[in-house]
């Protein structure tokens, strides 16, 4: 900006550089005049730019506000769909997406905090769906979610995110192949259960033609997560609900339920 409007300044007798002029306040010469012109131009442009920035931010803010609920709903729906696919919806009756605990352990693939969703039927724990990471994928981390039944058997596994080779390693996605369903119903007998490996390593899981590293990584990740669960089952299942926002919503829901229950009781009493 300033470089574009400097030429008049360089002709001035003082020969000051423009930045010096900008800082000096008491000059009454020609350069002083150009300085004020430059100041006006700069401040005008600043104002225009600022008002555009404000307008753009306002528009983005508005759209974000309008779509916020819908996006939340979509994400929740997505999560529910995934959870439904690994735990039969008929097996639980609680609001599973809002009943979760946080956990962190190297056995879950990284030092990230992972979430686990708890499925209950009539208050009793049926299964737990844990997000976890298989760190040894062919091309980085493989994020997955796995559900474990109360008896320690696997209820289902789904891969959430990965960067495996399209056409080879991506058969771990349920969209491409049903490979990932082979985990269902499997149990781990000991911490180093040798059956938990791909067939190439004398295990019980198939590998893919042209891709062994990816299924190996997934099997290892699932095994390690399952081990983590068996070891820490008791402490995990007694942790308090950690879904932050839910704690605010849940009480009001409970109130409405209890209120309606008491209403019904009152009605029954009146009838009698």
């Amino acid at each position: 900006m300033s470089t574009q409007e400097t030429p008049p300044n360089t002709n001035s007798p003082e020969g000051n550089n423009p930045t010096a002029n900008n800082e000096g306040n008491t000059q009454k010469t020609q350069s002083g005049k150009t300085k004020s012109a430059l100041n006006i131009a700069v401040s005008k442009n600043t104002k225009i730019l600022a008002s555009f920035a404000i307008a753009c931010t306002a528009i983005v803010g508005l759209v974000s506000e309008l779509t916020k609920d819908k996006i939340k709903q979509q994400e929740q729906q997505q999560l529910l769909n995934t959870l439904h696919s690994i735990i039969e919806p008929s097996r639980y009756d609680n609001d599973i997406a809002n009943d979760c605990i946080m956990m962190s352990s190297p056995e879950l693939g990284s030092d990230k905090v992972q979430t686990a969703y708890i499925a209950r039927k009539a208050g009793k724990i049926v299964a737990i769906a844990m997000t976890s990471i298989a760190p040894q994928g062919y091309n980085g981390n493989i994020d997955f979610i796995m559900a474990v039944n109360n008896d320690g058997s696997v209820s289902g596994v789904r891969v959430l995110k990965h960067q495996e080779t399209p056409g080879l390693g991506d058969k771990i996605e349920i969209r491409k192949s049903d490979w990932v369903t082979r985990f269902s119903g499997k149990k781990i007998l000991s911490e180093n259960d040798s059956r938990w490996a791909v067939k190439k390593d004398n295990g019980m899981f198939d590998q893919f033609t042209g891709a062994t590293i990816t299924p190996r990584a997934v099997v290892k990740g699932v095994k390690s997560t399952l081990n983590y669960f068996t070891k820490n089952k008791d402490s995990l299942l007694t942790r308090p609900n950690a879904c932050g926002e839910v704690n605010k919503i849940a009480p009001s829901k409970d109130n409405s339920i209890t209120r309606s229950n008491s209403d019904i009781k009152n009605e029954v009493a009146n009838e009698q």
Partner: protein
């Protein structure tokens, strides 16, 4: 174009003289014809001569990355089209108030705002496609086609033309995306419109066509190198067609010249 607007205002003012009316009618007709020619030129430029994908080679990163299926290609094409039209219209509407020194940051601001809006809307209403486009949706901000059109055309022309230019450039880009998507999806997976329900809703799953049954996927077509090769072939095809047209024209011209010579000699 500013001349056109001044003539328009003079047309609007009341003039009783018939002669001037006649002249103005003619002027108006000329103006209309000029506009028509302008629109035609814009369409040709956007769709063929100056196609952002095939000729300008702008925005190649999303072009090559997301065209592994037709659905993805359509999703990104539509998003880019929408952003391009909106940014062109806005840039054109504000062109008199934006000083030339700060025009670039303002354009970038506008484009970024629109892209963020489109991203939020897609996240809300087409969640599946939003996930499969991933990082390439916000990357539309850096697509040079958009700032290129804002700077080269929209900032100097009226709103209507700018909108039309955005539409044509966006269509040109989207068509190349879709074409690449078709080629890569057929070669790679043997299907068409796989996953269209992510973009258009559940009814669209009937759109899926099994073009040919492949025992294993043709990896090259799915991976980025396949995109480069297909893109290269498309560009070569376009150049071949252009050369063919040019040759034809030259032959025509030569014939005309010969006739002129004959006339001159006689």
């Amino acid at each position: 174009m500013s001349n056109n607007t001044t003539t328009e205002t003079s047309i609007d003012s009341d003039v009783s003289d018939e002669q001037i009316n006649g002249a103005e009618a003619q002027e108006r007709a000329e103006h209309k014809a000029a506009l028509k020619a302008e629109y035609k030129e814009l369409a040709i430029q956007g769709l063929w001569k100056n196609n952002p994908g095939l000729v300008q080679l702008l925005g190649l990163c999303p072009l090559l990355a997301v065209t592994s299926t037709v659905t993805n290609a359509i999703g990104l094409g539509l998003a880019t089209l929408l952003v391009l039209i909106c940014s062109n219209v806005t840039v054109s509407a504000i062109r008199h108030w934006v000083p030339k020194e700060i025009r670039i940051p303002i354009f970038v601001l506008i484009i970024a705002a629109f892209v963020t809006c489109v991203q939020l809307l897609m996240n809300a209403y087409t969640f599946g496609i939003y996930q499969s486009l991933g990082i390439f949706l916000p990357l539309i901000v850096t697509n040079c086609v958009i700032i290129g059109r804002a700077e080269a055309y929209a900032s100097k022309n009226p709103v209507k033309q700018a909108a039309f230019d955005g539409l044509m450039m966006g269509l040109g880009f989207a068509l190349v995306l879709i074409l690449l998507g078709v080629i890569r999806e057929i070669l790679g997976q043997g299907t068409l419109f796989d996953g269209a329900n992510l973009l258009l809703g559940d009814w669209a799953s009937v759109l899926r066509i099994e073009v040919m049954q492949l025992d294993s996927q043709f990896l090259l077509a799915i991976l980025p190198p396949g995109a480069f090769i297909a893109m290269g072939i498309l560009i070569a095809l376009k150049n071949a067609i252009d050369n063919h047209i040019k040759d034809k024209k030259i032959v025509d011209n030569e014939q005309v010249i010969e006739r002129v010579r004959v006339n001159f000699d006689s």
